[in-house]
Symmetry: C2
Subunit: 424 residues, 2 copies
């Protein structure tokens, strides 16, 4: 018998899978099974579940209470990055205990090169040569997710959920696929807690996943999907609640493969329905009908880094005035409203209203590109349930509507059914 | 008024002083007072009290259970070094919050260069140029104690208590003194829990401190004192339970200064009495009277890295045979005995006995060099209390006796009194 040719693979385990020593052992058994199956493996790990929150709370407690002092994001990174350092060392010890050759590689050792934007750094480059050579020499490389090193040799972190991005970046550097082990077993047509008959998707395209991630499906961090699409890294979302059999073999891979649209033979018109309550609607009533008034509003918001999603302009009661409605993330709503009030005279509007009792419901699917009637189906399904929508936004592969938050689940169920997404 | 010229200073805070955010704030106020007093400060910190034990327990839980597998000391270091990383970041944030310019420097950033002997690494070199320039530019440098970086760029730790050694090494690199803040307010003539009238020493010589540290006084780690002596770093042991006054000034420095013998004007014959229960006595009965038999025994022990302290040889009952008694640390006793038993035929002895019910009591003082009668005072004081001794060892500045453990406290009190060490 000849040994199977080794093929590189990145495996990523989230905080739940690293929650305690018993879970770390289970993750180690999954890694072992992939090595046994002939893979040269790099593992990216999150901190123990809850640990990052504890570390963040400490930095908050020590943090700038006095106004006007700069945030210590660089030192926040030093503290918070320690959580993944711990689990990477523990997983390496566990794998060695099982007889494998394993070692940890800190972000500054790989190195995972990032920019200097501490606490929300972006990965700039991951050299794959040294790491790849270690893998090819039979070593399992364990890499703490979420962390990197800045051009000035300081520890950085990528922002919450950044471990997915770390895993994809390492896979890109190693020129291989990335398996993301998490506490769900894949990407679903919608949230199974809302629709019991939600169906797991076998494959979903990068673009669909990107829309779904940014629209509220919490399986993967948006940036990790962007990176995977840009670097053409095949990503599989898998459940970490699996066990190898007595021979150390894993069950056949279920989960969801996130890949290029071209690799999906059977294209659906709509792949999923998503819902987000993280929305706020702001309306400027009686905006003077200057041609540059909306531009003035959105320039001010953009300069303050407030992301605006949907925009609706309608005729106001006042002659020669309009009402301008837009939505932002709920977190940014107060800041956006304060900005508007501070510039009320300059912008020129009569009144401002904020409504946080809204939800955004969306349908996503690459099939929309070539199929008419997708929007009509949506509007009819909502109308049949008596659900009014307050705003619409569309892209090539999604349609979103803003509705009263009370109707959110009802809308999801109606749309999931209208597009025939139920499991058989 | 002109600003006082800045003078570099290393300050070290132990695990109790870093135990929670409130204690970290107290340490920060002490640092702030030294900066206000005109010092350019580097701070070396331990992990939060209890944290290192938790991390070690995790590595034990993940660690090699199966026999024959190598220890993962390198990964142990990755896990355990995270504790000091956390406190250094938190102290930096706290100091910034108070308006100071502070940043953390990990062991690999300074770098604290060590050898590759993971979990018990020795510091090889600490370049002081970059760190010194940061201090001179007005930055408070926060350095995690206990950790360094190996020649292959991996995280190392110095072994338990290594943060004192880190602090002294940084002080040597910066060419300045080192203040060690701890939960006792200095070095005492003996353990105040045994002798209520024990007196704090204002000054103690490196050599005395070295003897006292290795004989069981737990104020400082032996290696840190060795390094301070070798690099001529003045070390002051101070209580961290102090507060700056309303003007941000610290009380006059009490504590104990550890310095060169020459700087101590009023030399005492005996500076301190120490006691250690971490002793075991091993006796080989009926050792064949070969001239090289003891050498054979001690060579075998040395090759197994068992440190032998006291040695006594006496006539055995058997004609042409001797009894050989030696002491080891209690931790090594079983291993030493196993070694002897395994080689019983080759070494040639009749019987082996182990006694762990012993204690070592010592008197230490540089004055012994020039004063006769020190030993007589000791023996008389012990004899007056009816305490027999089983072995003696001496150096130029200390005399140790091995006695029945039950008499240990009594012996300490008798000796403390006999040499007139009580506080007035």
């Amino acid at each position: 018998m000849t040994a199977p040719a080794t093929k590189r693979l990145v495996m990523k385990f989230g905080g739940t899978s690293m929650g305690d020593l018993e879970r770390i052992r289970r993750a180690a058994r999954i890694v072992a099974a992939e090595v046994k199956a002939g893979h040269a493996v790099a593992v990216v790990v999150s901190a123990m579940a809850g640990k990052t929150n504890e570390l963040v709370a400490w930095t908050d407690g020590a943090g700038p209470a006095a106004a006007g002092l700069p945030l210590s994001d660089d030192e926040y990174d030093v503290v918070v990055a320690s959580g993944e350092q711990v689990t990477s060392g523990l997983l390496a010890i566990t794998l060695r205990n099982m007889g494998f050759n394993a070692r940890s590689w800190m972000g500054w050792q790989v190195p995972i090169k990032t920019d200097e934007d501490h606490a929300r750094a972006r990965i700039v480059d991951v050299p794959g040569d040294v790491l790849g050579a270690a893998l090819d020499a039979g070593e399992i490389a364990i890499i703490p997710g979420f962390q990197g090193v800045s051009p000035t040799n300081r520890i950085t972190t990528l922002g919450r959920g950044g471990s997915d991005t770390s895993a994809v970046a390492v896979a890109a550097a190693l020129g291989c696929a990335c398996d993301i082990y998490t506490d769900v077993d894949g990407v679903y047509t919608t949230d199974p807690r809302i629709v019991a008959k939600a169906r797991r998707l076998e494959k979903v395209s990068y673009e669909e996943m990107l829309e779904m991630a940014s629209l509220g499906a919490k399986v993967l961090q948006t940036r990790s999907v962007e990176l995977a699409m840009g670097m053409q890294v095949p990503v599989r979302v898998l459940s970490s609640f699996i066990e190898a059999d007595e021979n150390g073999n894993l069950p056949a891979k279920a989960g969801t493969l996130i890949c290029d649209e071209e690799e999906i033979v059977e294209k659906r018109i709509v792949s999923g329905v998503t819902m987000s309550r993280d929305e706020a609607r702001i309306t400027l009533l009686g905006l003077g009908d200057r041609v540059d008034a909306p531009a003035d509003v959105f320039t001010r918001l953009a300069e303050a880094s407030v992301n605006v999603d949907m925009i609706v302009q309608s005729q106001a009661r006042t002659e020669g005035a309009v009402n301008l409605t837009f939505t932002t993330g709920r977190r940014d709503a107060t800041r956006a409203a304060d900005l508007m009030r501070a510039a009320q005279a300059e912008i020129g509007f009569e009144e401002i209203r904020i409504d946080e009792d809204v939800a955004k419901v969306s349908v996503v699917g690459v099939g929309m590109r070539s199929h008419a009637g997708v929007a009509q189906t949506m509007f009819k399904a909502l109308a049949d349930k008596g659900i009014k929508f307050q705003a619409i936004s569309t892209s090539e592969i999604k349609i979103s509507v803003l509705i009263d938050a009370a109707y959110a689940e009802l809308a999801v169920r109606a749309l999931h059914s209208a597009y025939g997404l139920e499991a058989v």
